[in-house]
Symmetry: C2
C-alpha cells in the first residue's frame, strides 16, 4: 500500500517532470528551428515557465510532504520510493537553501558573463573578463556554504555535477594520468610521424553525410520512433522525455568525420535517455545520474566502439561507397589510423582522446587553486600558459586560444570540467567489465551487431537511473571504484600500435 | 501615470500570454516534428501546462485586481488599457463561471468524442455517434447558460467564436446567399461545361513545389526571420508570438495547386499575426480578433488576390518555369480558369468558393435546429441529405461522405462553422473598400507589388487587435456592417466570365 503522502509526492514530482519536459522542448526549439526574430519573446516564455517550475519546486507543501515522509517508517517503502524521496529532498534543499538575493545575483552575473566573455575572447583581453570571474568565484563560494554547509567549497561545486565525488577521489586519479600520458604524448611528438589523412580532405556532400550518420546511429540502436536527429550550431542531446530524445550535429562540406562522430557521441547520450527504466519514468529515480556518467555513455560509443579498429573494419566499405571519389585508395586500416591521430593543440573541444585529459586536468588544477586561493584570477593567463607548456609542450599565442577559450566559467560552472575525463575513465572501465562478462564483444563489433552491447549498457547503467551515486554504480558494475589504469592501458596499447614508439 | 492595479494586471496577463506561447510551441512541435512514440508523454506535458495556465487565469487575485480596476475612474485609462481590462474580464468570467463538473465532463466527452467519431465515420454508422452528440448539445446548452446567462444558447455558442454576432445578424445574410448562389450553381451545372485542367495532372516534384510556395509567400510579405514554413498532415498557422509565426502545408507529388494555395491561405493568417500592433504585444489588446476575422485574412490572400486573373497573369511564367514539362501548352488565362472550377461535391474541405457557403449554411441551419429542438439528432442523416439535395443537387451515398465528415461536433465546437463564410464575406467587403481607398490595386497585383495591400491590411485590421468587435471593426473599415452583396456580386461576375452562363 502506498502512503497518502507518497502519492502526493508522486503527483508533485510528476508535474515538475512534465514541466521540465516542456522546458527542454523550448530549448531544443530555440537551438534547432526557432526563427531568429523570436529570441526576445522566447526569453520571456522561458523565464515565465522557469518561474512556474521554481514555484513548484520550492512549494512549502512539497517541503511538508517530504518532512512527513521522512518521519514515516522507511520499511514501508521500496528501493525506488526511497530513491524518489531522497532525490526530491536533495533538489528541494538545493532550491530552497540558497537565499533569493544570491540566486538573483548569480543569474544576473551569468547572463552578463556570457556577453562579457564573448567580447573579451574576441578582443583577446583577459583583463576585461577578470573582474566578473572574481565575483563569480566569491558567489560560488557563498553558494557552496548554503548548499552544502561544512563541505569544502570546491568539493561542493563538483558535487553539483558529479555527486559524491570529491577532490580526494579525483586528484590521485588525475596524477596517475599525468604521470603516464605526458611522457606518452611526448614520445609521440618525438616520432615526428603522423598517419596519412589526406583522403579525409575534399568535398563530402551534406545529404550523404546525413544519410550515413543516420544509418550508423540506427545500427547502434537509436530509436527514431522515440527520437529525432537534426542540425544545430553545437551538437547536443536534448528532448523532453525518454520517448522524445533529440540529438543534433552540424555538417561541413569539407569534413565528414566531425559530423559522423558527433552523431555517434550524441547517440550514446541518446541511448542512455531512451534506455531509462520503464517504472517511474516521470520521477527522479529514473533520471540519468550525473554529467560524468552521461559522458561515459557518449564516449563509450564514440571512442571504445566507433574509434576502434573493428568498427572501422565493419563500416569501411559503407563509408567508401558513400564517398567513393575520396576514399578510393584508402583501406580500413588507413582509415582507422587517420581518425586516431594525436596532436597537441590549444583548443580543448578539438583535442584527441590522448591530449584531451590534459586539457581537463589543467582546468581542474586551476579551479582548485582559485577556490583555495593559491591561484589569483589576475595570474590566470600566465598560469594557464605555463601548464600548457608543462603538459602538452605548447604555449598559446593568445589568451583567446588559451584561458579565454571556454564559456563555462562565464556562467559560473566550476567543477564541471572534471566530468569529461571522469566519463572517459568510466567508459573504459565499463568496456573492460563488459568484455569480461559478454562473449564475442569484438566479433560483434566487427559484424556490426551492437544489440548485445546496448542491452548490457541498458541493464547495467541506463536502467539504474539515479538509484546509486556514481561511485556506488561503478563499484556495482565493475567490482571496483574509479580506476584510471584501464584508461591508461587502453591508450598506451592503442597509440603504440599507431605510432612507432618501440614500446611493443 | 499607470495605476498600481493596472501594472499588476499587466504582469498577470503577460505571464499568461508567455505560457500560452509555450503551449502553442508544444502544439506546433506535436504536429510537425514530434516523434510518434512521444504522444503519451506530450499529452501529460500539455495537461500539466494547461493546469498551470488555468490556475493563473482563475486566480482570485486576478479577479480582485479586475474588480478594483473596474471601480477606478475609467477616465484614467487609455483605449488600449480599457480594452485589456475588458478582455481580461471576459476571459476571467468565461474561465470562472463554468462549474468544474461541467468543464470536466466537456473535456472528457471531447476526448472520447474524437475516438467515437473516427470509428463511426470509418464504419459509416451515425447511430454510434448520435448518443455522444446528444449529450454534447445538452452540455453546450448548460455551458451557454453559465457563460452568457440570458442569451439564446446557440447565440452564446456563436459568441464564443465570433463575439457580438448572433443569429439575427447571420440568418438574413445566409438567406441572401442561398437565394443567389443556389440558382447560380444550378445554371453552371446546366452548362455541362468545365474548364480544361488536364495540365494540372502529372508529377510535380515536392522540392520544386516547396521552393515555389516559399517564394510566393515571401513575395506576399511573410517575414521568414519571424516565422517558418513546414509540413504537417493538415495545413495550419501556429507559433508562439508575432515574432514566431509558423505556417504549414502538405505536399502531394501529383498536385501542386493544393500545397500552393494552402501556403497562400496560411500566409494570410500569418500576416495577421506578424502584423499585430507593436504596443501591448503580450496583452489581449493586440491579439487577433475572432475566427471569422482571421479567416477573412487568409481568404483575402487566397481568393481575392491569388485566385484572381491578375495574380495568375503575374505568376504564370514563374509557375511554368517551375514545371515546364507539365505547363508547356497552357496559358495564364487557361491556368486561371482551371483553378477556378465550380463543382458541387460532398466534402466541405474540398469545395470551391462558390459551393463552400452552401456547405456552411447547411451546417448552420442544422446547428440552429439542434439548439432550438426543431431538429432531432436521430434525424440528422436524413436532414443532412435532404439539404444537400436542396442546396447542391446531390445526395451523399454514405453518412461518411455526409453528416459524419467533419470533426467539429465531436469536440463540441458548435457555432464555429459560420465563421468560415463570415470570413469569406468580410474578405470581399474589405477588398471592395481597399480598391476604393487605394489607387492601382489591380495594377499592383499584376506587377506582383503586394506591399501596399499588406500595409493597408496591417493598418486597417491587423493593428486593430481586439480593440473592437467584428461588427464595429467592419463598420469602421468599410463604413457599413456585414453586407453579403459584395460577395454575391464578386462570385456572379467572376463565374459568369468563366462559364458560358449568358448573363453578361
Amino acid at each position: 500500500m502506498t502512503s497518502v503522502n507518497y502519492q502526493s509526492l508522486v503527483e508533485k514530482l510528476s508535474e515538475v517532470s512534465y514541466l521540465n519536459g516542456v522546458m527542454s522542448t523550448l530549448g531544443w526549439d530555440q537551438e534547432v528551428v526557432m526563427p531568429i526574430g523570436a529570441s526576445e519573446a522566447r526569453a520571456q516564455q522561458i523565464s515565465a515557465l522557469a518561474g512556474v517550475i521554481h514555484e513548484r519546486m520550492t512549494d512549502p507543501r512539497l517541503g511538508d510532504c517530504l518532512a512527513e515522509l521522512e518521519a514515516e517508517d522507511s520499511a514501508y517503502f521500496d528501493t525506488l520510493q526511497i530513491c524518489n524521496i531522497r532525490e526530491a529532498r536533495r533538489k528541494y534543499d538545493l532550491e530552497t537553501k540558497i537565499p533569493k538575493k544570491l540566486v538573483k545575483e548569480m543569474a544576473g552575473l551569468s547572463s552578463q558573463g556570457h556577453t562579457v566573455w564573448v567580447a573579451a575572447r574576441r578582443d583577446n583581453k583577459f583583463s576585461d573578463f577578470a573582474p566578473l570571474l572574481k565575483r563569480f568565484i566569491e558567489l560560488k563560494k557563498e553558494w557552496a556554504q548554503c548548499a552544502f554547509p561544512g563541505m569544502d567549497h570546491y568539493d561542493a561545486n563538483i558535487d553539483n555535477f558529479e555527486r559524491g565525488t570529491t577532490m580526494a577521489d579525483i586528484t590521485p586519479v588525475f596524477e596517475r594520468i599525468k604521470a603516464e600520458l605526458i611522457p606518452l604524448i611526448q614520445s609521440i611528438q618525438d616520432t615526428r610521424y603522423q598517419p596519412d589523412n589526406s583522403f579525409l580532405q575534399g568535398t563530402f556532400p551534406v545529404d550523404k553525410q546525413e544519410a550515413l550518420a543516420r544509418k550508423i546511429s540506427k545500427d547502434i540502436g537509436f530509436q527514431f520512433d522515440c527520437g529525432r536527429m537534426d542540425v544545430s550550431v553545437h551538437p547536443f542531446c536534448g528532448g523532453s522525455h525518454p520517448t522524445d530524445v533529440r540529438i543534433t550535429t552540424r555538417y561541413q562540406e569539407n569534413d565528414f568525420i566531425e559530423s559522423l562522430y558527433a552523431v555517434i557521441h550524441e547517440t550514446g547520450h541518446g541511448l542512455y535517455e531512451q534506455g531509462r527504466m520503464l517504472e517511474g519514468r516521470d520521477l527522479p529515480v529514473s533520471e540519468s545520474l550525473t554529467m560524468g556518467i552521461h559522458e561515459s555513455q557518449s564516449l563509450f560509443w564514440e571512442r571504445m566502439i566507433a574509434q576502434s579498429e573493428l568498427f572501422c573494419r565493419h563500416y569501411f566499405d559503407t563509408i567508401k561507397a558513400t564517398f567513393p571519389d575520396n576514399l578510393q585508395d584508402a583501406t580500413a586500416d588507413v582509415f582507422y589510423r587517420a581518425i586516431n591521430t594525436c596532436k597537441a593543440d590549444f583548443i580543448r573541444v578539438e583535442a584527441d582522446e590522448l591530449t584531451y585529459p590534459l586539457h581537463i586536468i589543467l582546468r581542474y588544477e586551476i579551479e582548485k587553486g582559485l577556490f583555495d586561493d593559491s591561484i589569483a584570477v589576475d595570474d590566470l593567463p600566465e598560469v594557464w600558459n605555463d601548464l600548457m607548456m608543462k603538459y602538452l609542450g605548447i604555449k598559446p599565442p593568445t589568451d583567446t586560444l588559451g584561458v579565454l577559450q571556454d564559456s563555462h566559467w562565464s556562467s559560473g560552472a566550476f567543477g564541471y570540467f572534471p566530468s569529461y575525463t571522469l566519463g572517459a575513465i568510466y567508459a573504459c572501465q565499463f568496456y573492460q567489465t563488459m568484455t569480461n562478462e559478454l562473449s564475442d564483444v569484438e566479433k560483434n563489433i566487427e559484424k556490426g551487431s551492437f544489440a548485445p552491447i546496448k542491452a548490457w549498457l541498458n541493464e547495467k547503467i541506463h536502467r539504474q537511473g539515479s538509484l546509486f551515486t556514481p561511485h556506488d554504480l561503478v563499484c556495482r558494475v565493475t567490482g571496483e571504484s574509479l580506476n584510471p589504469e584501464y584508461f591508461i592501458e587502453y591508450l598506451k596499447k592503442k597509440y603504440s600500435a599507431i605510432y612507432p614508439l618501440g614500446l611493443e
